[in-house]
Amino acid sequence: MFKILRVDMAGQKAVFEDIPEAYQGLGGRGLTSAVVAAEVDPTCHPLSPVNKLVLAPGLLAATNCANSGRISVGGKSPLTGTIKEANSGGQLGQYLGRLGIQAIIVEGQPPAGKLFKLVIGKDKAELVDAKELKGLGNYDSVAKLKETHGDKVGYCTIGQAGEWKLAAASVAFTDMELRPTRHAGRGGLGALMGSKGLKAIVVDPSGGEMAPLKDAEAFKDAAKRFAKALTDHPVTSGGLPTYGTDVLINIINEAGALPTRNFSRGRFEGAEKVGGETLNEITVKRGGNPTHGCMSGCIIRCSGIFLGPDGAYVSKWPEYETVWAWGPNCEIDDLDAIARIDRMCDDFGLDTIEMGCAMAVAMEGGLVEFGDVRGAERLLMEVGTGTPAGRILGSGTAAIGEVLGVSRIPVVKGQSLPAYDPRAVKGMGVTYATSTMGADHTAGYATGANIMKVGGYVDPLKPEGQVELSRNLQAATAAVDTAGLCLFVAFPVLDIPDALVAIVDMLNAKYGLSLTTDDVGALGQRVLNIEKDFNLRAGFSAGADRLPDFFRREALPPHNVVFDVSDEELDTTLKF
């Protein structure tokens, strides 16, 4: 029943195909990367007709497995020029799974100026003219689409940033309340979608069904064990649903690893004012909901709802990375301002990490003062209105830095670093440098006790052991992304041995396989090898796997450390 939906934007045709042998056994990131590596010329311009946009739910989509509805979006990145996968919550992953669609491959380009929506239902798909959506942000786009398609469907849209093909543009997915708050943010995939003239994807799951299972009883048993691990673990059952991912602000600040003022310090005086404890407090006080799932089937529920002082909806809870990028990194200590900015980024369709880093670099370049909320909001607004300054900012951290003559530009392969300073968390630094995606924390953010062969304690301030740590984390993450699981399942997978066994048992029960936990690491390595090979053919040799030089020269207070993992060691990271 599983099919690929191939969409030709030049001929405006959408046809279902059987899944080729080469793509069997892959889902999510594994599948998007396999398709891109096989079908896209690695040397092409990312916005040319030759590039392809691929969307794929994970291997465990449309099942009763908890937290299995992530959707991967892939292509050659308009921001980095490397292969790219960014994944998101929201409803579309589960809906596509229920329709038996394992991937959507969007190729070619329509005549200039044409804009379409792809409308998908049970065994049918068509491209429909969408000129009425031209120039709209994600919130207005969804409101307009609802007039035609109603509220029993899932929406994927791009905002103005995607239409204008800005390299920081994201792809938005609606949550359970049809808010376009979940984003495949990193790497400018919204610009790729915009280059295809594709403004929206509408997925109606009616008539669809749960994925067929080879052994329903075994699946049920394993799904139950997996859910128990998630509800037993204190981080997934207590920390995340109470404080959201923003809980990390105070911890990382305490560790002296919270990048502040464009990566010039490791601690921010205003951290407490923007941390998860404060976020929870003001949310409860204003009658908001701290415990909200970003997709159906989620039992962690870390995506709270942020209300303004007047009690009106502003945005979903800004994630830790968003709070950090626009908060400490820009020296802004105002959660209300950060939530408004989060809403603007969601509406224009922008990666909040890339934009926060771009703003901090713009501040260093003198366009706005550090800590100036109004100035930051005004400049961000220009991305939505499309002024030249706005378009440069929306092209990302490296672009604005080069235009302003700033030398401290925190990017790897053109993508901005996230919220852990690589000098104080060196394992993360290795991941930023060597990830196939450009600087990306999620690329090496998760692990399982059975996969991670690193024993004992790795000092975050010392170079020893970091490469091995990052290698195992990156392989484990690629496997989690391929299964379509939320990355936060990594907490129980790390601490409760049966959680990883339960995941493998579910894969076996769904597909009639006999995988062991060792195969999980092997699956991750297979995906990374596919991605590395694409990048090599695109012209990224080992010399590209480096952090910007200032991380080796400028010591980071309070620990006064530099990044000192050697180049030779970095080059061994993803050698399997």
Partner: protein, 99 residues
Amino acid sequence: MMEITIKLGGPLRKKVQGHERGEMTLSLPEGALISEALTRLELEPDEVRVVMKNGLAIHADEPLAPGDRLGLFPRELAYNTMTAISFFNPLARKKQTQD
């Protein structure tokens, strides 16, 4: 006597009295150990899964010096491996990886 600073995270703020937004100072005898600071706060070692002294991991029950800062976080906030940082509390009695 000496004074040290305490920073509490998440649910520990409900268990400990006398702090302002998770921060407080504590008077202890010169050379007091980390475990003595926890006792003064009426916290069991198992309730504190992450300990940082001046932003660094501890490896044993170390003596404190005037002006030291202790960051204390409970099991709900034990994000250790996710962030490639390990700040597990060596004073906790239960096995760290089996909550």
